[in-house]
């Protein structure tokens, strides 16, 4: 009897402490510092902001200097401006911004959300932004990944520049 009480007591300690929820505590599973979901209107602000930043960003700044329309201040851009030192890293962030962050990956997510709710207004806006984004990329780099990009393929295939313009035209129509 005594022993049974003890065993029961011990079992209670073990079972009460080994709760199933311990490893699924929300703050431990999901990053509490950043949201894990986003609505399409929040994404839209991010997409538009990134696009603005891209249009005003590295490509614009450097081309402006090469055209001798502007110059760096406080010692910035000395290498690029004076010595024309350009490496594959110089435009890496600009290329990345077509797809990552507020690029195509966020556009696709926002579109999926709009499609799910039959929100034609958002869908239309997002398709226009997608066309703008990708055509900017095709303008700059020529052949770039598009049809296969920001999906499951870790190394998306490149589409021809003209094929991309055709696809974007279809998207806009």
């Amino acid at each position: 009897m005594r022993r049974r009480t003890m065993v029961a007591g011990l079992a209670l300690v073990m079972s009460a402490t080994a709760c199933n929820s311990f490893l699924s505590e929300p703050d431990a599973i999901r990053d509490p510092n950043n949201p894990s979901t986003a609505t399409r209107n929040q994404l839209l602000a991010g997409i538009e902001a990134q696009m603005m930043n891209q249009q005003e960003g590295g490509v614009a700044m450097i081309v402006c200097q090469w055209m001798q329309q502007c110059a760096g201040v406080a010692g910035r851009f000395v290498e690029v401006q004076g010595k024309y030192v350009v490496s594959e890293n110089s435009f890496e962030l600009d290329f990345n911004s077509i797809y990552t962050g507020g690029g195509l990956v966020s556009i696709r997510q926002a579109k999926a959300s709009a499609q799910a709710d039959n929100d034609a207004v958002y869908l239309g806006v997002l398709e226009v932004l997608e066309a703008l984004q990708i055509s900017w990329g095709a303008d700059m780099w020529g052949d770039i990944p598009y049809s296969d990009a920001a999906g499951d393929n870790p190394t998306p295939k490149f589409d021809g520049q003209m094929a991309i313009y055709d696809a974007l035209q279809t998207l806009l129509e």
């Binding site: 005594r2 009480t5 003890m6 007591g9 011990l10 209670l12 300690v13 073990m14 009460a16 402490t17 311990f22 490893l23 699924s24 505590e25 703050d27 431990a28 599973i29 999901r30 990053d31 509490p32 510092n33 950043n34 949201p35 894990s36 986003a38 209107n41 929040q42 994404l43 839209l44 602000a45 991010g46 997409i47 538009e48 902001a49 990134q50 603005m52 930043n53 960003g57 590295g58 910035r76 990345n96 077509i98 797809y99 990552t100 962050g101 507020g102 690029g103 195509l104 990956v105 696709r108 997510q109 770039i144 990944p145 990009a149 920001a150 999906g151 393929n153 870790p154 190394t155 998306p156």
Partner: protein, 1114 residues
């Protein structure tokens, strides 16, 4: 919890009462006396009957009384054992009969520590001879003798394979401990610290991380933003434990020993046990020590030449009321000095003082014991001014109580309050040494405030007027850094546990430990209005760090002894561990009023930021042991870990271990020379948890940082709502812990009648699933992803030899040697060639085929090492034909050098330039006792291992380094050989870059002055030709030396009423023998956070100390 506790306590209390009620028989009272060598009485010897679970301890006179309740006395034969640490345990079988029994013991010393209990972690314990892996124990005596207030530093040179590096001599600065090398690229390199069975925090956190904007970090404020290479030193949190409270330290070095801690043990485990009270009269001990500290070495600076360039000092440099933005006033290549010079190598330093007082009381009776201590440590550092100190107050109460004969409860609680003011250092224009060592010898840093304007006066702005208020000085006047900059950290920490032990039956025991660790660390960093950082007008960084964890550990241990030759044990356990880390911070800019250190006193503020992480671990473990014929001891263990850091899909991982220990001297009759021998083999796996949230897909608040500007970003909003976009780092679906598999083999032998023992250990580690952030095709939507992708191997050898030539009651001498070597090899890093380890001023990388952490960068053009394309086709190959690899190419000024006779820097391919990991490390420790007089010493030896001395390279360029005292006189551009005269050197000669040389300019003498040190490839931090900064940093350090005397004459015992009075004089780091040209070869820019070691960039100096200690014991 309370309900459960009642459920367990009530039945237990009943259990205890029942036999008492039934007692009708007379109790057995065993008394006796225990003596040691020479018949001296031994106190604190545990006398117990294991099978009945009863025991007691001897008093100061060596006598004990053990009462066995009558109900359990059945004239049976029981084993009465007497054991004390340091003595061979003795067991006598007695017949337990009612009434008085007398049993005396005479114990022999036990240099091989056989039979002593060793804790092996997570509630398991074994005995020394049963241990299947190498044991590394550090006793309380050795910890105290180290005279270090930080327990991690006290472990330096105590165990082979345990590499301790102090980051600086700044009071409170962290010490890093690395066990058996490095095995991670993203994770921590520090072992898990466990105090009294509870894992505790040993983190170190840079205040600069709160300010990613100025630190140039990419994380959120509160995350690691690489702040450790600038800002101030910070303590590692084990500095919160009073070393005097420590009873013993066991270091589980590898995966094989640490597997019982599963996913947290890949870097080893340090198990700390704090002191307990012992039954008997209450003991009091008061230990006071005063320490006098000074820097180990003065920086070699030149004092012959003054400020200027090309031998000329412009008059405007001395009269300037605005900042000299570069150009002729910044460096020290001016005219030879005839006037007064100022001693910058010592003007900022003083003799520091440390005052350490510990009062402890301990005692108790058969049922209750306690240990109570208080410690006040005041440490005034070696830098002048009010802002260089670290004070610590701690208190601890450890208590145990025997509720019934079979049920014990206990608690260990510690509170620590630390307050410190630290000093800016490193790659930092506010830093003490950066400003100090760059100051020309003809500039007086005093007064640091201009007598007219009252503003910050530095050599680049010697006469500031009010128009320069709130502006940078280029580099701080170092004295201004010391007096005006406030870098404050105030932490309060509580950690401890409550525990219960229940001996359910003779063979079954339960243990429960519930531990907690809570700390709150408040930081305030003031960069005043005229400080030289990017913060024009002053900056205030304020942050709070809250760290708390709760640990629950429940074990059941069964022991079974079938016969003398067959026994075993089984431990089953469960562990839950929850850790929270939170920061809250704000950065204010442009102070309104000087000296008011409040965020409210700023005009602009960066957005306030919070950051937190939560980690939950749930683990089950079991350990099975089998003892055969008292000579073969087999152990197997298995741990299953679940952690929220593994992701939601695959949250459990297994960590097995197995070991065998065979006392082969039991088999054959040991000879006269070989008294003991054990072979051991162990295998185990342990892991390192991923950082939290790498599996969590998140959206990021959009922050636009336009162009490359260094400033606060903008967050776009739409109708008052913020914008988001998807993370650019692809979250891993499943992340496994980094896994280290280890095989360890070794033997321990005792010979010459226990006068000597030798231990050898060989290990191989194979670490897989090393976590890497790898770049991905951005068109897939992410720029990087987190993967288990790296493979790193480690291997090493460890030896220790201890000799005890004589041990008698009057005198004893022992000497010990330790030696170890560890080498890592990067096998694979996701197919990449190399990967940068950390944000640092150097490139320390994981490079495939090389040891982890090697220096990687550009060197001088050398045969066989450099890409032949560095020079026009065929030139290098022709010069190098028949020359040994590494021959220095000397150009004639046509291909790559400025002028004939000089070497050239590489531009094309980076290569491995050095390795900060030492070739081997060793230590020699000795102790001698003659009656009450003790002498001891400890030498720490480090062979090889390089340091990137960026300080030297920078000071070459600035012309203040001692090497530049011998200089050619240069004029004009001070670039070509023809610009300079004098100090002619030939590259490759015995006194100038000795070694083989080749090439068209070989043998041509070159004037060496500003043309080389400033305008050629010499100054590595500025030219990127790192080779010249990499220096051998091997050393031999006299870590400890001491002489002590313990007075117990009648003037002490009768006159003062004490049992003894100890006086000890010790030296710490008194002498370092090294070829390293910087301040100290033991240095670390990143402290205990960084994976990178061996980086010296205006690091703060180390200190050496004389310590006088007086101990009063009663």
């Amino acid at each position: 919890m309370r309900q459960q506790f009642r459920n367990i306590v009530v039945p237990l209390a009943l259990l205890a009462l029942l036999p008492a009620a039934a007692a009708a028989q007379e109790a057995a009272t065993i008394t006796g006396r225990v003596t040691g060598e020479g018949g001296t009485p031994l106190a604190a010897v545990t006398v117990s009957i294991a099978e009945l679970g009863v025991g007691t301890q001897t008093r100061d006179d060596g006598r004990y009384t053990l009462v066995v309740p009558g109900a359990r006395v059945a004239r049976q034969s029981v084993a009465l054992a007497a054991r004390r640490v340091g003595y061979k345990p003795r067991t006598v079988r007695i017949a337990l009969v009612p009434g008085a029994i007398t049993q005396d013991f005479a114990l022999e010393t036990n240099p091989l520590q056989l039979g002593e209990v060793v804790i092996t972690g997570a509630g398991t314990a074994t005995e020394v001879e049963k241990l299947g892996s190498v044991r590394n124990a550090v006793s309380a005596d050795l910890i105290v003798k180290a005279n270090e207030s930080n327990v991690v530093q006290a472990l330096a040179a105590k165990a082979p394979g345990v590499d301790v590096t102090s980051s600086a001599g700044d009071p409170g600065a962290s010490s890093s401990i690395k066990i058996r090398g490095l095995r991670t690229i993203q994770g921590s390199t520090q072992p898990l610290f466990v105090v009294d069975g509870v894992p505790v925090d040993n983190g170190s956190y840079s205040t600069t991380n709160f300010n990613p904007v100025d630190a140039g970090g990419t994380g959120q404020a509160g995350q690691d933003n690489g702040g450790q290479i600038e800002g101030t030193s910070q303590p590692n949190r084990m500095a919160d434990i009073n070393p005097d409270d420590i009873e013993s330290v066991e270091i589980l070095k590898g995966a094989a020993a640490g597997a019982i801690y599963g996913a947290r043990a890949a870097n080893g485990v340090v198990l700390i046990t704090t002191k307990r009270g012992k039954a008997g009269a209450t003991k009091y001990a008061l230990r006071s020590s005063v320490t006098s500290d000074d820097i180990t070495r003065k920086y070699p600076l030149q004092t012959k030449y003054g400020q200027g360039r090309a031998g000329v000092l412009l008059a405007s440099c001395n009269t300037s009321t605005t900042l000299s933005a570069g150009g002729p006033c910044v460096r020290t290549w001016g005219p030879a000095l005839t006037g007064s010079v100022f001693d910058h190598a010592s003007e900022a330093f003083r003799t520091g003082h440390q005052n350490d007082n510990v009062l402890s009381m301990s005692g108790g009776n058969d049922r209750t014991t306690f240990y109570l201590s208080g410690n006040l440590n005041k440490n005034q550092g070696v830098f002048i001014g009010p802002n260089n100190y670290f004070d610590r107050a701690t208190t601890r109460l450890n208590a145990t109580h025997k509720l019934t004969e079979t049920f014990n409860v206990g608690g260990n609680f510690s509170y620590a309050d630390t307050r410190g003011h630290f000093t800016q250092r490193g790659n930092n224009v506010n830093g003490l040494l950066l400003g100090l060592l760059r100051t020309p010898p003809d500039f007086n840093n005093f007064p640091f405030l201009d007598p007219v304007s009252g503003l910050h006066r530095a050599y680049r702005l010697p006469n500031p007027d009010l128009t320069t208020a709130g502006q940078t000085r280029g580099f701080n006047n170092p004295i201004y850094s010391l007096y005006e900059e406030l870098n404050q950290a105030q932490a309060s920490r509580t950690f401890g546990n409550v525990n219960a032990d229940w001996v359910a039956t003779d063979w079954l025991k339960f243990n429960y430990t519930l531990g907690a660790d809570y700390s709150n660390d408040e930081r305030l960093e003031i960069c005043p209005q005229e400080c030289s950082d990017v913060a024009a007008g002053g900056r205030i960084t304020e942050g709070k760090i809250v760290n708390y964890s709760i640990d629950h550990n429940l074990t059941a241990t069964g022991r079974y002894q079938y016969s003398e030759n067959l026994g075993g044990g089984l431990t089953l356990g469960q562990n839950l561990n929850a850790r929270n880390f939170r920061t809250f911070s704000i950065v204010g800019r442009q102070m309104i009023v000087p000296g008011l250190n409040s965020i409210s006193n700023t005009l602009a503020r960066d957005p306030a930021a919070d950051y937190q992480t939560v980690i939950h671990d749930e683990s089950y473990f079991g350990q099975l042991s089998l003892d055969l014929y008292q000579q073969l001891f087999l152990t197997a263990a298995l741990r299953n870990d679940g952690s929220t850091t593994f992701g939601t899909d695959n949250t459990r991982n297994w960590f097995p271990k197995a070991s065998a220990a065979w006392t082969f001297t039991k088999l054959a009759n040991p000879g006269e020379y070989l008294t003991y021998g054990k072979l051991r083999f162990s295998y185990g796996q342990a892991g390192q948890e991923p950082d939290p949230y790498l599996t969590s897909p998140t959206f990021t608040a959009t922050t636009l940082t336009p162009g490359i500007s260094q400033g606060t970003g903008l967050t776009p909003i739409q109708s008052g709502r913020g914008g988001l976009f998807f993370t650019t780092t692809k979250p891993a679906a499943v992340l496994k812990p980094e896994r280290t598999e280890e095989k360890e083999f070794g033997f321990d032998i005792g010979f010459l009648q226990d006068k000597a023992d030798f231990s050898a250990t060989f290990y191989k580690q194979h670490s897989t699933d090393v976590i890497l952030v790898t770049p991905t095709a951005p068109s897939a939507g992410y720029s990087s992803e987190v993967k288990n992708a790296g493979v790193i191997d480690n291997g090493g050898t460890e030896f220790s030899l201890n000799l005890r030539p004589f041990t008698t009651a009057t005198q004893a001498w022992d000497i010990g040697f330790g030696w170890s070597r560890t080498q890592s090899l990067v096998v694979d890093i996701a197919g990449a060639d190399f990967k940068l380890l950390d944000n640092s001023t150097t490139q320390n990388v994981a490079k495939k085929g090389y040891p982890l952490g090697v220096f990687y960068g550009l060197g001088m053009i050398r045969c066989g090492l450099s890409n032949p394309d560095e020079l026009p086709a065929g030139v290098l190959d022709a010069a190098c034909a028949g020359k040994p690899t590494g021959t220095l190419y000397i150009d004639d000024g046509t291909h790559c050098s400025i002028d004939a006779g000089r070497p050239c820097g590489e531009t094309l391919d980076q290569r491995v330039l050095g390795d900060p990991t030492p070739k081997w490390t060793g230590n020699i420790r000795t102790g001698y006792r003659y009656k009450k007089l003790t002498l001891s010493g400890l030498l720490d030896i480090r062979k090889g291992g390089q340091v990137h001395n960026g300080t030297k390279g920078a000071l070459w360029s600035y012309g203040t380094h001692g090497d530049t005292e011998n200089r050619a006189t240069c004029t004009g551009a001070a670039t070509a050989n023809s610009d300079c005269t004098g100090n002619m050197k030939v590259f490759g000669s015995a006194d100038w870059y000795p070694g083989p040389v080749t090439g068209p300019g070989a043998g041509v003498a070159v004037p060496i002055g500003e043309n080389w040190y400033r305008n050629d490839i010499a100054p590595c931090p500025f030219t990127g030709i790192d080779e010249q900064c990499i220096e051998d940093a091997g050393y031999v350090k006299l870590r400890e030396i001491s002489i002590g005397y313990s007075f117990d004459q009648s003037w002490v015992t009768r006159g003062l009423g004490l049992s003894n009075l100890d006086v000890r004089i010790a030296g710490r780091n008194l002498k370092t023998w090294t070829k390293y040209t910087g301040l100290d070869p033991e240095t670390s820019l990143g402290g205990s956070i960084n994976r990178v070691t061996g980086v010296d960039y205006f690091n703060l100096p180390q200190t050496r100390s004389i310590v006088l200690t007086v101990g009063l014991n009663r």
